[in-house]
């Protein structure tokens, strides 16, 4: 078992005062709270902080931890085992939701201070009165969709792990596969509720709900703004200058789009009702981008020189200071 460096986790010296430990814990708890920090490992990090603080905030536990750290600690291979006959005097009694939610504490913690969550110690079991029942937890799961899938709706298989309480009161993860039908026209950030597919209830109480949070996978040429689809469309200089009818992709296949004569880079053309489907249908915005070949033929360059002479009056930098 790995020896946990609680001081390192809380970012304090082993000589830190109780006040310093508290301040550091509070600061890190704010930073890594899974409801604040979007990073994937923030939940583990937050639990680790809670465990470290649970030990270091309590003078008795801290003293025991310090003792083990000094004498009982790591074997040659870095593997930690508490000394034979080790028994904590500090013990452990569960408390609030976070700091002392012992079910999430590591084996390392349990080997020193006891497993509060395990039925053999009876804490969790004793604290729950007979006939106790509690509705299962509502769970959240991210689902990444391609724009085409969100637009048309799709049936998708998702695998997730659902926390459940076994007969000993321990939390275990159960793998579950769901076939989910995503309705057409969902948007990024939207949550789809699947009733009764969350965590299992305790004592005959109903299961919680599962919320699927939709996110869009990046698309090779479309961007999204709410229900609108944005497409940057490269056009050649003659197409921009003379106008053209071009075939452009939309989520429902290609459509013909008329580029007006005299267009410039950045000009926007709106295809009404060609955005994401749904109760409110979005538009597709086409933003033009004039693209030139890296090399012109000599003949083309000659034509450009001719063009420059003919359009000498045109100054594209008229709004900038002139020398």
């Amino acid at each position: 078992m790995e020896f946990k460096d609680y001081y390192g986790i809380l970012g304090v010296d082993d000589t830190a005062s109780a006040a310093e430990i508290k301040t550091s814990y509070r600061k890190l708890a704010r930073k890594y709270h899974p409801d604040v920090n979007k990073a994937k490992n923030s939940e583990d990090k937050f639990k680790e902080l809670g465990e470290a603080y649970e030990v270091l905030k309590d003078p008795e536990k801290r003293a025991e931890y310090d003792q083990l750290r000094k004498f009982g600690a790591a074997g040659a291979d870095g593997d930690f085992q508490p000394p034979p006959g080790w028994q904590s005097a500090a013990g452990f009694s569960g408390g609030g939701y976070t700091g002392a939610d012992s079910q999430h504490f590591s084996d390392f913690f349990e080997s020193i201070f006891g497993a509060a969550g395990a039925a053999s110690r009876g804490y969790a079991a004793d604290s729950e009165p007979r006939g106790f029942s509690r509705r299962g937890a509502d769970l959240q799961h991210r689902i990444s969709l391609f724009l085409e899938e969100a637009h048309k709706g799709i049936q998708r298989q998702i695998k997730l792990s659902i926390p459940e309480t076994d007969e000993y009161g321990r939390t275990i993860a159960r793998e579950k596969t769901l076939n989910v039908k995503i309705p057409a026209g969902v948007t990024a950030g939207q949550r789809i509720r699947l009733a009764g597919q969350g965590g299992a209830g305790i004592g005959g109480a109903p299961a919680g709900d599962l919320f699927l949070e939709v996110e869009f996978a990046p698309h090779p040429y479309f961007s999204v703004d709410g229900k609108n689809i944005i497409l940057t469309l490269p056009v050649s200089a003659p197409e921009a200058a003379l106008g053209a009818t071009l075939s452009v992709p939309t989520l429902d296949g290609n459509v013909n789009l008329k580029i007006p004569k005299g267009s410039s880079s950045g000009d926007k053309l709106r295809l009404k009702g060609r955005g994401l489907a749904g109760d409110v249908v979005g538009d597709q915005l086409v933003i033009l981008k004039v693209a030139l070949p890296k090399r012109h033929t000599e003949a083309a360059e000659a034509l450009y020189r001719q063009l420059a002479e003919r359009e000498a009056a045109f100054n594209p930098r008229a709004e900038m200071p002139q020398n």
Binding site: R26, A29, R30, H33, D35, V36, G96, Y97, T98, R134, R135, D138, Q140, Q155, K159, I172, A173, R174, E175, K176, T177, L178, N179, V180, K181, P183, A188, G189, R191, I192, R193, L194, A195, G196, Q197, G208, D209, F211, P218, Y221, S223, V224, D225, I230, T232, S265, I287, K289
Partner: protein, 117 residues
């Protein structure tokens, strides 16, 4: 643990609404806390029933859970909680916007040459 295949095709989507007592039950909090959270604008009822009682959307449940976790874990008072939730919402919206704008920028300028002098 074995896989369980559940066909959720006909499962109801986010349209269901919940009364205050259902919300209390589901979130495991007292009604007073929810009333206060509504007063501070942390959550908003989606509708009212015939007796003018609040009805909450499924989303409000998630939001309340999140608010409740933040309140307990970070020892926030209600004004602090309301401010945090507002700021977190704003950060979410801005993040989405940044991603969308970055994409667009990439499309418009991404393949351009860079020349140094």
């Amino acid at each position: 643990m074995s896989d369980v295949i559940i066909n959720a095709v006909d499962t109801q989507y986010s349209s269901a609404l919940f009364t205050l007592s259902e919300v209390c039950q589901r979130c495991g909090v007292h009604a007073e806390i929810i009333v206060e959270m509504v007063e501070y604008g942390v959550v908003k009822p989606a509708d009212t029933d015939a007796n003018k009682r609040w009805l909450f959307a499924g989303e409000a449940l998630l939001r309340l859970n999140r608010a409740q976790r933040l309140r307990q874990d970070l020892e926030l008072n209600l004004p602090g909680l309301a401010l945090s939730m507002d700021l977190l919402d704003e950060i979410d919206a801005l993040r989405q916007q940044v991603v969308s704008l970055q994409h667009q920028l990439q499309r418009t300028h991404g393949d351009g040459n860079e020349v140094s002098y």
